[in-house]
């Protein structure tokens, strides 16, 4: 009996195997021409695969515009206020909208859910005029009350929709608006609903980048009815006014969004469905793009980019610089409490070599801790060009001749501003050996590394910073203001003059004045050299040539409302 059973099992298996084998055969016959030209150019191969794709794909045959966006990691949550990662806001940007918005490829402000706004002369009152006739995906009306509910929810942990019990923390709100309700630094005094389509924000002190903040995808407006309905499950059920509505989420796999038919902008969005697909491995993602299984891929290896430029059927895209990588010093610890030593190291590191070795040309060397194109970027700063002789002189002045030993801390985790920190560390090590400084590299896992650098356990370390609201304050104050020592100022740089300039710039609402103050601060910072700014990287992406109107935004979150696929 048992023997018969195993025979049956074997039979079943053979059926399955035959089926599987057929799958190979089936496509093989339709693909014979491809295999015969197999030793030809890769590009011919590619185009024939994509032809096959269009003829085979049932969804394209029905004329549905379905776009697959491939990325390396999954979203943390889809409640924009309670997340901080780019993979989350990339998705929420499609589903929810903000009062103001950024231009397609820069941090210039343009209208969003508010079509107009007024600022009082003292910079303490902002009035926004909201779009009328806008509905959320759940059919409820968007109005000033909805805006107030959202801002109150972020500011007040006691608010009924704050969901503090379920571990919701709105840290981006705290960072951008100086804390929460009742905190000393919290700038938002009150939010007043004037009428259904007018809302006023009253601040207790001017904030130079208040408008910039409101355009950040983290401060997008959720339907109050949905907050009531889903409660703390809101981060898996986002409901906004955006061009796409949320359909489903398979964790670590894909998020599906559907077109919102009643979107406020006539004729948009053009796509019927957007799928954010997680493909963790960079090379696998590129293969999926080449085989036509995905339309856009994020996180292309810079080394692969050069080859793709000439490839038919694939377009290469870059995001504008919005970050920089650096080697930081602990400026209160010997030997880096001496300015000469910091300057010497700055001269000794060959930044161009790092840019070439690591980013295959998709990076520019940086002289300021701020990306070019930002308000107040100081192009007159001389910076530290590679000059080992000068470095040796400065070290001698400081009293070190071939006897300086330094520990360089790093974490091998790839970051947007630095795809391969290990190689950077090795280049730095070699550069410094040339000027007689002996560097020991210690490598740490990302999680403990963040803690160690915050607590100042380092002498020298490798890190970087990415922008979010497009304002210089987010770079300069976070990294170099003395009040951020122990959190984000890991160089422990403490300059009362720079602090004063940054404070003034933060409070001013006159953007020209702010630009001047930031430029001045950069000059002082460059002289003090608390960090060696290495490179601004331009992240590279690739998309199938059928993808039209796709513009990558420097913040890494761009709206896909205008994107369409060529038939």
């Amino acid at each position: 009996m048992r023997f018969k059973f195993s025979l049956l099992f074997a039979l079943l298996i053979s059926v399955v195997l035959v089926l599987a084998a057929c799958s190979g055969d089936g496509s093989q016959s339709s693909n014979d021409d491809t295999s015969s030209t197999d030793n030809g150019e890769e590009t011919t191969n590619d185009s024939s695969t994509s032809e096959e794709e269009t003829s085979e794909e049932p969804t394209e045959a029905t004329g549905d515009q379905v776009l697959v966006f491939a990325r390396g990691g999954d979203s943390q949550g889809l409640d924009p206020g309670s997340v901080t990662d780019g993979e989350s806001s990339r998705v929420t940007k499609q589903v929810l909208e903000t009062l103001l918005d950024f231009e397609a490829d820069s941090f210039e402000i343009k209208p969003g859910l508010a079509h107009d706004w007024e600022v009082s002369d003292d910079g303490l009152s902002y009035t926004f005029y909201l779009e009328e006739g806008v509905t959320f995906h759940d059919g409820t009306e968007f109005n000033a009350e909805a805006v107030k509910v959202n801002f109150d929810r972020w500011a007040d942990p006691e608010h009924e929709y704050a969901f503090s019990d379920a571990a919701y923390v709105y840290s981006m709100y705290g960072t951008m608006f100086g804390g929460y309700k009742g905190d000393e630094g919290h700038v938002v005094e009150e939010v007043n609903v004037i009428n259904d389509h007018e809302i006023e924000f009253v601040l207790n002190q001017p904030l130079g980048f208040f408008l910039q903040n409101l355009a950040m995808s983290y401060f997008a407006i959720t339907s109050p009815a949905a907050l009531e309905e889903y409660g703390s499950g809101i981060n898996e059920n986002p409901v906004g006014t955006g061009p796409f509505k949320f359909a489903s989420w398979t964790k670590n796999d894909s998020i599906v969004l559907e077109k919102f038919e009643d979107y406020r902008k006539e004729g948009l969005p053009k796509l019927d469905r957007v799928i954010f697909q997680v493909i963790p491995d960079n090379s696998a993602r590129l293969i999926a793009l080449r085989s036509g299984e995905v339309d856009i891929m994020d996180g292309l290896n810079p080394d692969d980019a050069a080859g793709i430029e000439s490839e038919e059927g694939i377009g290469l895209y870059t995001r504008s610089e919005n970050n920089f990588g650096y080697v930081g010093f602990h400026s209160q610890k010997a030997p880096f409490d001496q300015k000469e030593v910091r300057q010497a190291i700055n001269y000794a590191i060959d930044k161009q070599a790092i840019a070439d070795a690591l980013y295959a040309g998709y990076a520019t060397t940086s002289k300021n801790p701020l990306p070019p194109g930002y308000l107040g970027y100081n192009d007159d700063v001389e910076g530290y060009n590679y000059n080992p002789e000068r470095a040796r002189e400065l070290l001698e002045e400081a009293g070190y001749v071939d006897d300086l030993e330094i520990e360089l801390m790093m974490s091998p985790t790839a970051r947007p501003y630095m795809p391969d920190p290990e190689t950077v560390a090795q280049i730095v090590q070699n550069n410094l050996a040339d000027v007689g400084v002996d560097v020991t590299i210690t490598s740490h896992e990302w999680a403990p590394y963040l803690e160690m650098t915050e607590q100042g356990e380092h002498q020298m370390y490798i890190m970087g910073w990415s922008g979010t609201n497009g304002d210089p304050d987010y770079f300069l104050s976070s990294l170099l203001h003395s009040s951020n020592i122990g959190s984000s100022n890991n160089t422990f740089y403490n300059s009362p003059e720079v602090d004063e300039l940054l404070d003034q710039a933060k409070r001013s609402v006159d953007q020209d004045e702010r630009a001047e103050l930031y430029a001045e601060a950069q000059a002082l910072i460059s002289e003090d050299s608390p960090m060696v700014t290495l490179v601004h990287s331009t992240p590279v992406l690739a998309a199938g040539s059928g993808v039209l109107n796709y513009v990558p935004h420097p913040s890494t979150s761009e709206s896909l409302e205008e994107v369409e696929l060529a038939q």
């Binding site: 969804t59 697959v68 703390s232 898996e236 964790k251 670590n252 993602r285 085989s291 999680a447 803690e451």
Partner: protein, 323 residues
């Protein structure tokens, strides 16, 4: 046995997870986090309680069947873990079918035709299969069959443009329930490459084990007797010899199945397979304590269950075995 093993697992995973350096609040908030934000988040996640209190809460919840909530996604782990587990089980089933069918048959033929060219070839392939890095094999498969030939999809469990309405989360089963055979076919195509990548090492191990076990049995007297009686070669091998050689093979199959079900992180990463291995791996890099604990607990549970099933099968195959 099951209960003390699992109880021990909870204590060990809890301790290891909390002893490794790194703070989940810090990782979630990233390098831009302020000290206050980290403190706030730690408090709301309950991480500022002493370890034994945290373990007590975890254990009491566990007794009520509550695996807890993920620190990172704030979702119930019990609802998050099933799709991942189903993905891994589905892949493991197909990988093991591949490994068993090819491995056992190759082993039998090798033993039957000992020292023939087939034997040498099969054993060389088995040696290569055991020592080949999985990620290399996986990338080669993708490059050849997805990019160059375009026969098979490069990633995932299904066509992302046309997702399935999942019921059981076993996509092959789900598409059959929907009576959607075209979709079932697409899903099977997605299984081919990862199943081969994952099944190659077990296949090689099974082949080698089958060969040596069969060789031993084939030398025994009763086989000679059956042959002398004029039993056909096929019957001798597949009925009489295999039945007596199967116990060690079954042990290997059981162990390998357990290993694969624990999540094959490399295969799952390269083929974007949203399985349990990647779920736990992601949780480790984010220090998502509850997910790590529950994930490892579930994996341990499955491992124990698979071995239990193997033990039961021993008894069915060989009634002399008693526990």
């Amino acid at each position: 046995m099951l209960i003390p093993v699992l109880l021990g697992m909870t204590i060990i995973t809890f301790s290891i997870v909390h002893l490794i350096p790194g703070n989940p609040a810090q990782v979630i908030l990233g390098e831009a986090a302020t000290a206050e934000a980290i403190a706030d988040l730690e408090e709301s996640m309950g991480l500022n309680e002493p370890y034994w209190v945290q373990y007590g809460i975890y254990f009491m919840d566990l007794l009520q069947g509550d695996l807890g909530t993920s620190l990172r996604s704030k979702a119930e782990i019990s609802s998050e873990i099933w799709p991942h587990l189903a993905a891994t089980i589905e892949l493991t089933i197909f990988a093991m079918i591949f490994a068993i069918v090819i491995g056992v048959n190759a082993g039998i033929i090798s033993a039957w035709k000992q020292n023939s060219w087939f034997d040498f070839l099969a054993m060389i392939i088995a040696l290569v299969g055991v020592s080949m890095p999985v990620f290399w094999l996986a990338l080669m498969e993708q490059w050849i069959f997805a990019q160059e030939l375009g026969w098979l999809p490069a990633y995932g469990r299904q066509d992302s443009r046309d997702p399935i309405a999942a019921i059981t989360q076993f996509y092959v089963l789900d598409s059959l329930i929907h009576l959607d055979f075209e979709r079932a076919f697409t899903i099977l195509k997605h299984l081919v490459l990862p199943a081969i990548a994952l099944g190659t090492i077990p296949m090689a191990i099974i082949a080698r084990m089958t060969r040596s076990s069969m060789l031993e049995v084939m030398k025994s007297d009763y086989i000679r007797t059956i042959r002398a009686k004029g039993g056909s070669q096929f019957l001798v091998i597949y009925k009489h010899a295999l039945k007596n050689a199967i116990i060690p093979i079954l042990t290997v199959i059981g162990l390998q199945t357990g290993v694969l079900l624990g999540g094959a992180i490399l295969t799952e990463t390269i083929f974007s397979w949203p399985g349990i291995g990647r779920y736990v791996y992601e949780a480790i890099s984010f220090r998502d304590y509850p997910v790590i604990q529950s994930g490892i607990l579930v994996i341990a549970f499955i491992f124990v269950m698979v071995n239990l099933i193997v033990d039961i099968m021993y008894k069915i195959i060989d009634p002399r075995i008693k526990y």
